[in-house]
């Protein structure tokens, strides 16, 4: 059942099946948070009010990690948009007792909400803190209710959720079986990025931008030493002038 789809691990796999990946060019990222808001609107994520930040129960499928480089006064703010890395060797998958998260044949780490019983073990085992828990029943102000995306499940309280690479868009685009031209299919975050720092595509398509960029010499992957084999590649020029 769920295991039959195991396989695209470590890249290879069937060349006809897409392998969805993303490249994040940190040299382009301005930290504007447009991706965060776009994701929020696309994926029916409840409004994060101030209290959510105080309680540290913010739900953001993509978030901007800010960190500082250098010493004061010669200091630079750096940003790292962090989303589910769709690891090909995902630590979250094997610990779920109910197969609520598994790997599909398109290289996506899929979350099945109605299987989830909320043990939150996957969240513990995710080194990227990309998995989020619904502590409360999600609510929206009355005037925003009609704005919910009909393609996306509204998650109940008690389940885990995380970035899906906008799987609803992938499904719509590939429903007929016809090939999708590179760049036609984008998740909300990539679509909203004003500097095109986020690039999404099929890494099994050698001509796709994502396939070219992911081999750029500036490439790195977050916490590569853990062997999780993420599907998100980051690009960053290492400052040499300080």
């Amino acid at each position: 059942m769920a295991t039959q789809a195991k396989p695209s691990t470590h890249g290879a796999g069937d060349r006809d099946t897409p392998k969805w990946e993303m490249v994040v060019d940190l040299d382009r990222c301005t930290g504007c948070q447009a991706c965060v808001i776009a994701c929020q609107a696309e994926n029916n994520i409840p409004i994060n009010e101030e209290s959510a930040f105080h309680e540290a129960r913010v739900i953001q499928w993509i978030r901007i990690e800010r960190y500082w480089e250098g010493e004061f006064p010669d200091v630079k703010a750096r940003f790292l948009p962090l989303l589910c890395q769709q690891c090909d060797n995902a630590p979250c998958e094997s610990v779920c007792p109910v197969y609520a998260t598994y790997h599909n044949n398109e290289g996506l780490n899929v979350q099945v909400y109605n299987r989830c019983v909320g043990t939150r073990y996957c969240g513990n085992n995710c080194p990227y803190h990309a998995r989020l828990f619904n502590y409360w029943e999600p609510t929206w102000p009355e005037d925003l209710r009609n704005q919910l995306n009909p393609d996306v499940t509204v998650r109940t309280r008690g389940v885990m959720e995380k970035c899906t690479f906008c799987i609803q868009r992938i499904r719509r685009a590939t429903r007929g079986g016809e090939a999708v031209a590179d760049g036609d299919l984008q998740p909300a975050c990539a679509q909203a990025c004003p500097t095109s720092a986020l690039v999404f595509g099929n890494a099994n398509d050698a001509g796709a931008r994502v396939s070219k960029l992911k081999n750029d010499k500036r490439r790195f992957r977050v916490m590569e030493e853990l062997g999780t084999d993420p599907s998100v590649t980051y690009l960053k020029q290492v400052d040499t002038d300080g």
């Binding site: 630590p91 030493e225 853990l226 062997g227």
Partner: protein, 455 residues
């Protein structure tokens, strides 16, 4: 468990036991000297092997792997045996009495271990740049502290041996005809006459040194594991290692005790002291520790295997799945599977041959396992890396390695045989004490033993 009782032999007296033990003790026949000569020759072969290794120096660390493995084997079997004496005395097991002295006499092998430690330390690379437990600790780490730790264990064992031997040394002093040996024993008996205060001191000292040995042993195994295995293995973080080594030690000690008892029964005629009861009683913890052997290995294997961190996956490939798969399988079978399958049956446990057979296998398995752990670590070229650089191949022994292993083990047996002619190999006073605390009576329709609970 009930049917043993009806053919219970009458209980001998303390005096009968003492005369019998002293007669065997006094005898230094051709057979004894024959064995000593053979063992001495093997020991000299070991020294030859050692000298060959020494002539190559310490620059190539990998040639010292088997030396360290042999040393660790001695620590894990012979030198662990006094723990049995100390542990059983704490639990007041009555059946321990005939076999405690055998285990205590083995503490003499601590001297050999300390001697073997020195070249092993010389072969260690400098601490700089690699993981170690010393955290820039001053004063000659790791060498000085290892010598102190091992030396402490050896001294603790010898002190335990000496203190518990005092009443028997005094008996030997009074029994033997005058000779150099008798004069030495007389000196060693420290004027024991057996008045109440002396006994009190003896009981207190046996607690102190026994407890001390039980604490010193895990520390020595921790030093061995940390400095001679983990510190050389790039990226290894295996916190269970020292505890696992202690478990191996208890298993090895039980197995060695059983084998020694069996050999003494067959070759030395000690059936009277090492009866089936001793084998039966020792084989229960032997079964338990064989299960623990697997459990302590599995606990760390599962953690690495499930975690799937690349560095740790490489390490289990190196130590278990690829390079040292053969040795691992051998020790898995001999240290876990065979003991489990055999000792689970009461008739096997309740015999002399069953536990002895299993124990012999365990000793072989233990040696192979020590080879796997220490030879692998010494074959790593650059211990300052953070992960293995490729998976190195396993390393087979060469002629000098075989000589060192044979010589080391022969040396231990030789030391035991020598010391057993100074300290009687059966503890007369403990057996005698046990006899006074036991009686046989009828209970319902069968004979049972009544045991008073005292020391």
């Amino acid at each position: 468990m009930a049917e043993a009782a009806h053919e219970m032999r009458p209980i001998p007296t303390h005096q009968e036991v003492a005369l019998d033990v002293l007669a065997r003790f006094q005898d230094l026949g051709a057979r004894y000297w024959g064995w000593v000569t053979v063992l001495g020759f093997l020991f000299v072969l070991g020294i030859v092997g050692f000298v060959i290794r020494l002539s190559a120096g310490f620059d190539d660390r990998s040639i010292w792997g088997y030396h360290v493995a042999t040393m660790s084997f001695i620590v894990t079997t012979f030198l662990a045996m006094p723990m049995i004496s100390a542990g059983l005395r704490l639990t007041k097991a009555n059946w321990r009495r005939p076999l405690t002295r055998v285990t205590e006499n083995m503490s003499i092998t601590g001297l050999l271990v300390v001697l073997m430690l020195l070249p092993a330390l010389a072969a260690l690379p400098p601490l700089e740049g690699r993981r170690n437990i010393w955290f820039d600790f001053p004063l000659g780490a790791p060498g000085v502290w290892n010598v102190l730790g091992f030396g402490n264990l050896a001294l603790m064992g010898l002190a335990l041996l000496w203190v518990l031997a005092l009443p028997d040394l005094a008996a030997a002093r009074d029994h033997l005809p005058p000779s150099a040996r008798q004069r030495f024993i007389a000196w060693a008996s420290l004027g024991w006459v057996g008045h109440l205060r002396q006994w009190r001191v003896l009981y207190a000292a046996s607690l102190v040194f026994g407890g001390g040995y039980l604490i010193a042993y895990p520390l020595v195994q921790s030093l061995l594991f940390a400095d001679f295995h983990a510190g050389l293995m790039p990226g290894l973080k295996d916190a269970i290692g020292p505890a696992r080594a202690v478990v191996h030690g208890v298993q090895g000690a039980l197995a060695m005790t059983i084998v020694v008892m069996y050999v003494m029964r067959r070759l030395g005629g000690y059936e009277r002291y090492f009866s089936v009861e001793q084998f039966w009683a020792l084989s229960k913890p032997l079964l338990a520790f064989s299960l623990f052997w697997f459990y302590f290995w599995w606990a760390s294997f599962l953690t690495f295997w499930y975690g799937r961190l690349p560095g740790e996956t490489d390490l289990i490939r190196f130590l278990v799945l690829n390079s040292y798969l053969g040795p691992f399988i051998v020790s898995l079978v001999l240290n876990f599977i065979v003991p489990l399958v055999a000792l689970i049956w009461s008739p096997v446990r309740r015999s002399a041959w069953g536990p002895a057979f299993v124990s012999a296998g365990i000793l072989v398995g233990t040696f192979v396992n020590e080879v796997r752990i220490y030879v692998s670590a010494f074959s790593i070229e650059d211990p300052t890396l953070h992960a293995l650089d490729g998976i190195p191949p396993g390393q087979w022994p060469e002629a000098p390695d075989v000589l060192i292993a044979i010589g080391g083990i022969a040396g231990c047996v030789l030391l035991f045989m020598l010391v057993s002619k100074i300290v009687p190999v059966i503890s007369m006073w403990e057996v005698g004490e046990g006899l006074r605390l036991t009686k046989i009576r009828r209970y319902l329709n069968r004979q049972v033993r009544v045991i008073a609970k005292s020391h």
